[in-house]
């Protein structure tokens, strides 16, 4: 069996429906929204430089998931990466990497931006408003 549709390399590698062609297997993207990928990349980058310990983060994640499930027996409104993000906030705070109050203030500040600067749902575009410009399609970004 070859790639469905007979795509030539390297397009075949990105084919979304080939049986062995994931990460996007079964038509599902790895991340449902840009902020999820940001929360993911942040955790891996912090772990990579030794700023957090993965096991401590994992334990925080287990707690967040357990708390959420206890509070939402129906399972409605589930978001894995919201638990991930809260676990990361707590782990970073516990390690003294961020001050929880500064984090709240920054979030409130960003949330108060006028419409048009709202990052929800399209925050890759949003990077360009804030000087974090980078090419997400380039495997080796040179920024910053």
């Amino acid at each position: 069996m070859t790639g469905p549709g007979g795509h030539a390399d390297p397009a075949y590698l990105l084919d979304s429906s080939g049986p062995a062609a994931p990460p996007r297997d079964n038509g599902e993207l790895v991340f449902a929204a840009p902020w999820e990928s940001r929360a993911f990349g942040l955790a891996l980058a912090l772990n990579d430089v030794g700023a957090i310990e993965w096991e401590a983060f994992r334990q925080a994640l287990i707690r967040e998931i357990g708390d959420w499930e206890a509070a939402h027996p129906s399972g409605e409104g589930w978001s894995y990466y919201e638990c991930w993000l809260r676990a990361l906030e707590r782990t970073a705070s516990a390690r003294g990497l961020v001050d929880p109050r500064a984090l709240d203030e920054r979030a409130a500040l960003l949330a108060a931006r006028p419409a048009g600067h709202d990052h929800a749902g399209h925050d890759r575009e949003g990077h360009r408003h804030h000087g974090h410009e980078h090419d997400l399609h380039n495997g080796s970004p040179s920024h910053p």
Binding site: R24, E36, R38, D48, L97
Partner: protein
């Protein structure tokens, strides 16, 4: 942090956290992007499919894989976070393995990439333990009563991957042709390898 900020959109909270950490010089955008791109584009079930295809065609590799998953998988160049202790479980006509992480979503990233949403879902994580046969049937996998089901729970110590049975009618297939029959779901244990 049980503050009003928790009610702010997670997209904004993620941005706030990232901006503070970047300002402190603890992380940089390029490193984050590299991790994201790696797992969006390069690391995924195609890695595990190659491992399975090799095990199907090379009995000695299969033995090494079942004895020490992490080392045998590294032979093919697949290693990295969440792959430190991979245990490979072999399906047989009598025993079907299926993987879950009941507490969070531990998953063997180097061979399967990041987990799909259903794997992280509270419903899968609890139900596959309680009623595996029913859940597998919902995935479209009807197992006979003579097949035992073993549900294994991933943890910080061990990440599991299933070695599915080689489908009939694949004699003489190349490793590449075989790898194309191996899906992510087959390596989690909620499906069988695709029949050619």
């Amino acid at each position: 942090m049980t503050t009003a900020a928790e009610h702010i959109d997670p997209a904004v909270r993620a941005e706030a956290l990232a901006s503070l950490l970047i300002e402190r010089g603890l992380v940089d955008q390029a490193t984050m992007n590299n991790f994201i791109k790696t797992y969006e584009l390069s690391v995924g079930p195609m890695n595990g499919a190659k491992v399975v295809a090799r095990a199907w065609t090379d009995p000695e590799y299969r033995e090494r894989l079942l004895a020490d998953g992490t080392a045998a998988i590294a032979e093919l160049g697949f290693r990295g976070p969440q792959g430190e202790h991979i245990v490979v479980l072999e399906n047989t006509p009598e025993l079907h393995n299926v993987v879950v992480c009941t507490l969070c979503s531990c998953y063997p990233w180097p061979v399967l990439g990041l987990p799909p949403s259903w794997y992280k879902d509270p419903s899968y994580r609890s139900r596959i333990v309680r009623e595996p046969r029913t859940v597998l049937a919902e995935f479209g996998l009807e197992l006979g009563d003579d097949v035992a089901i073993r549900v294994v729970d991933s943890s910080s110590e061990v990440r599991y991957m299933v070695l599915p049975m080689r489908p009939a009618g694949t004699e003489g297939f190349s490793e590449e042709e075989l790898a194309a029959l191996v899906t992510r779901d087959a390596m989690v244990g909620v499906a069988e390898a695709v029949a050619p």
